[in-house]
Symmetry: C2
Subunit: 724 residues, 2 copies
Amino acid sequence: MDFSSFLTSLGTSFVIFVILMLLFSWLSGKPGNKVIYYPNRILRGMDPWEGESRTRNPIAWIREALSSTERDVIVMSGVDSAVYFVFLSTVLGIFVLSGIVLLPVLLPVAATDKTGKETNETSKGSFSDLDKLSMGHVKVGSSRLWAFMIATYWVSFVAYYLLWKAYHHVSDLRAAALTSPEVRGEQFAIIVRDIPPPTKDQTRKEQVDTYFKTIYPDTFYRSMVVTDNHEVNKIWEDLEGYKKKLVRAEAIYADSKKTGKPEGIKPTHKTGFLGIFGSKVDSIEFYNEKINELIPKLEAEQKVTLREKQQSSALVFFTSRVTAATAAQSLHAQMVDTWTTMAAPEPRQMIWPNLPKNFYERMIRQYVVYAIVALTIFFYMIPIAFVSAFTTLENLRKFLPFLKSIVDLDALKTVLEAYLPQLALIIFLMFLPKLLLFLSKAEGIPSESHIARAASGKYFYFTVFNVFIGVTLGGTLFDSFKKIQKNPGSAVELLATSLPANATFFLTFVALKFFVGYGLELSRIVPLIIYHLKRKYLCKTEAEVKAAWAPGDLGFTTRVPGDLLVVTIVLCYSVIAPIIIPFGALYFALGWLILRNQVLKVFVPSYESYGRMWPHINTRVVAALLLFQVTMCGFFIIKKFYYAPFLIPLPILSLIFAFVCQKKFYHFFQATALEVACQELKETPNMEQIFRSFIPPSFSTDKAADEDQFEDAVSVVSRSQSFV
Amino acid sequence: MDFSSFLTSLGTSFVIFVILMLLFSWLSGKPGNKVIYYPNRILRGMDPWEGESRTRNPIAWIREALSSTERDVIVMSGVDSAVYFVFLSTVLGIFVLSGIVLLPVLLPVAATDKTGKETNETSKGSFSDLDKLSMGHVKVGSSRLWAFMIATYWVSFVAYYLLWKAYHHVSDLRAAALTSPEVRGEQFAIIVRDIPPPTKDQTRKEQVDTYFKTIYPDTFYRSMVVTDNHEVNKIWEDLEGYKKKLVRAEAIYADSKKTGKPEGIKPTHKTGFLGIFGSKVDSIEFYNEKINELIPKLEAEQKVTLREKQQSSALVFFTSRVTAATAAQSLHAQMVDTWTTMAAPEPRQMIWPNLPKNFYERMIRQYVVYAIVALTIFFYMIPIAFVSAFTTLENLRKFLPFLKSIVDLDALKTVLEAYLPQLALIIFLMFLPKLLLFLSKAEGIPSESHIARAASGKYFYFTVFNVFIGVTLGGTLFDSFKKIQKNPGSAVELLATSLPANATFFLTFVALKFFVGYGLELSRIVPLIIYHLKRKYLCKTEAEVKAAWAPGDLGFTTRVPGDLLVVTIVLCYSVIAPIIIPFGALYFALGWLILRNQVLKVFVPSYESYGRMWPHINTRVVAALLLFQVTMCGFFIIKKFYYAPFLIPLPILSLIFAFVCQKKFYHFFQATALEVACQELKETPNMEQIFRSFIPPSFSTDKAADEDQFEDAVSVVSRSQSFV
């Protein structure tokens, strides 16, 4: 890629961004779109335009985002979102502080070094102006390299300092959220797994109750034995489906009264495959029938499940936060693989089917999943390398000659050359998260947020290995493997040699990500179009319309690894080609601004883990830092700089830093500290309500009369035993 | 070593053993020796000869040892001793079950293989009869090797089965001891370390009290802030020394009245260096003066210490066992490196100076100690190798020609040849334990039993690396290093080649250890002689006599690694030279018998850790098993047996076994399970008494009146503050 195609890429990105911004200003003002641009506010029953002047000031949202406080974010979107902003601002801080020192120092140092064109390392193909500004332009063995070495130290220490402060801050945020005097159900409950088989004269429930009553005579409230809900859930889902369809059919019928004949047309459908085959029936009657059929079936199945499908796992409720916190952390049984306890997640996060999984089964599943992920990481690299080698224009022209005429158009050629590889990469990465979420769930983790963390960790390694290292070594992948096989020590050196050649690729990648990515994010063009289409052609009922604009959450699983990839790229290039730093800073500044808007107005968090994501983010930023330091070591060796060993303390420091962070902070993110749990509550907790909040939806019924029935069903276990 | 010198060695060992046994029968019957042979019973106020017929039946002790139950051992010597016997009987079981199958199968298989003298691998020097019975005698690539492979599997599975059963049993023993309805002080206390600096308007004691009262409002009893007792201890030791000397001087004076003049001779001594220089003084007066001088000094220093030398650590007492158990396991502070808690050890085990050591200081100390130990392990090998190369008779004759005439005596030559290297080795190993205990203490561990465990673990690695591997590769040490340097993979192969050559050395080593070692153990010749000498010439007072026969404890620090070394040796040779198995079995059978006697009658345990030694023993036996399996792999490769890869599952199985043991049992040995702690107590615990039992001896005074004074001193902190 030459300099002009780089500028073209930047320019088009910027133009797209501006267009999207204008679109946003225009569209977000229209009242019909408010469910797309302000769903979080609407769902909280707030005025969508609260605080904004009704005059369509196109930058009002910026002022609002900048003036919002961390408190606002926590109120509107929870601690996890606030922690995500800590991440964005910390990285932004690292880049700004690095840039302030590195840009004015390193650029002149590199540009003024008199070298011939022979050290043309930075970009593939022809020599470009960008190269003059990079470390590749400095003579081999030059004493100017001292400046680059000091820069490496500066970046590292800035990162240590800001990460340390951020960890402290996040820990305080978590502590503040957990000490909150508001009653949160999950703070009073623990999950108990691996319960040994009960004795013959005992039901599972009696066993659990007796066990915990003995240990916690004063604070034990009640237990809820986990049941195998597979059947109940199936019936319940069918029932809910029919209910929705009934409402829909009724809406259509009501509609037809208005538009067509006054008596209306009763909607009909065929009962066979896909509604195409089978006998034609009156939909409303049919659904009513089905519902009436399923309700008693569901109730019967619920009773059977509660009585007969009890599993070796339970939720236990305590009347005290401190007891629940200690119970979650303490060893209960002499055999460690029985009666294992852990803190309960929020009810909405519970993954019920994973609860009864056995101690060793979980362990084996975990190792198997790790093995699969490791294999996938390795084998994904091969297609990625092919794509990145294949999607150069020369190759396209060679292998797909029919494209030749299009490709040879000059304007198009520049655009294509600029975007093709990056686009291929981004599309490629879209298929991964689902797989990783599935794999993480298969490990047996019982909470959504934990699964998101696990998947996000795996996704990070994917992107770093496959995108960063894969693309860098891409063209020469197979040669590289041969070299590394011969001499494993050469891997670092190889990476260091290949890095500069891809500087512009990654510059474009980052720019594309923030201009186009964040532009799309803010303008919400895609959800907007989908919503309007759905509303026009599909949605018949209120509920359907509401589902059509459901905003979803921030999506940490892919967002955080994506950002971390940018961190990795920018850090690794920060000293070699400091020109990348402003792009990185812009990425995180824009991200902060636009996501602040989205978090306050759009996204609705689907869970709250009180910042448990942070230790993972911190570790991975340090890992990126380590990769940067190791690559720099390799780069200085290539530059034949005799003082390269002076860099060795840095990777060691990074490891110590990670270790100390882990020792000082991490345990509090795994467990609730007692000094935090012992704060007084605003009100006496309503234990009955807490207990009820954990009942899975397929068991909870909305009729008040039915509550007694459920109560019955829970304790029917012991009663039926005594009657039989 | 040839066959005759092996037999000589065995014979002399046996003769020594018989002599020592006869000595024991004779000496233990004499009433004057009962404090040497029955101190544990005497200290417990029991009749020394209880249960034994007064007729000096020389094998009465054997009958008694065999008929004693595990319950007896726990009552007389605690759970730790009982766990040690589980270890002895488990290993004995492994050897007996292995021997029953291996001896009748492998010996004929090896002996009847027709090989020439060319495969003379087993013993250095000339061919001997022993070699015929070993795997070395089987032809290269012979299908008879299948028998040896199956034997390897048999030994491994026997070991897994018995170790698993033993771990279960030990876990039950620990649970039974911890559920005991008797009140044990340490179950109500926790150690708190890394307490952050108190605020200005708070004393340390107030800070600790407030903190724990908030978290445990119902069960918090009281706290004891750790103080820097260095000065107090020094004064107290001086005081105690003078008190002892005073009693002695008075005894001498009283004695002189009886024997000499009726008015007696007042004992005198010189006050200068070693009592040789300086002015002569009346001892009784002098000591009385000193004591009267020190008592107020001690009291003043105690007050100052309690008020001003408070450290960042404390003991916290709870009125409930469950709370103490959960408090020891739970995270208390948001910053993990503050307010760290752990279960308190018994008062007699406390290492006070290690308590206030900082979180990171402890960590750094630990790594430094590990590094030192690793270096010592490596560099100890070199002198050991020299010793074992030097102490062959040929070398002695060559380097120390003046010994030639002695060495050439035929009888002496055989004995020397048999014993010299083993003796050198045993003496060499005597210097280690002190160093290792010192190093382990320097890690910052706060309890004696934990230090013993840590030192014992290090000692095990020492013995295995230096004795087993060192001796095996000994003669060819430097050649070996060169080979391994060239090809690291050859280490296993090299070990496998060298093993058979040392079979007889280790046979003799094991035989020497049990015949002479256990003979000395049982007969207690050395303590007996020392006691009688001391009583005759040195002891003047009751206390001094009592100190002279103080029996000490079992000494797990050296005893367990010593036994584990035998386990390693016997396991590694079990298939190569099965003739070693009976010797191993005999070692553990004799050990069980003789130590049963010693534990019931002689040794007094100096601490109780409720079997926390076991996980370490288990891990190390599995490590020995792993070494055995890996060496066997190497040995089969040397034998050019094409089915050698069939052994690969075994080491993997061992790792899985160790992992599962760890997961299933280990945590309960680190912490108290709540189901165990929640058992009811026989009586309401006397918290005041529990609290007092933890007061260090230099603070506790035996005068009843002084107790109030101490109470004052503890709470003087806050009072003095309010007065000032």
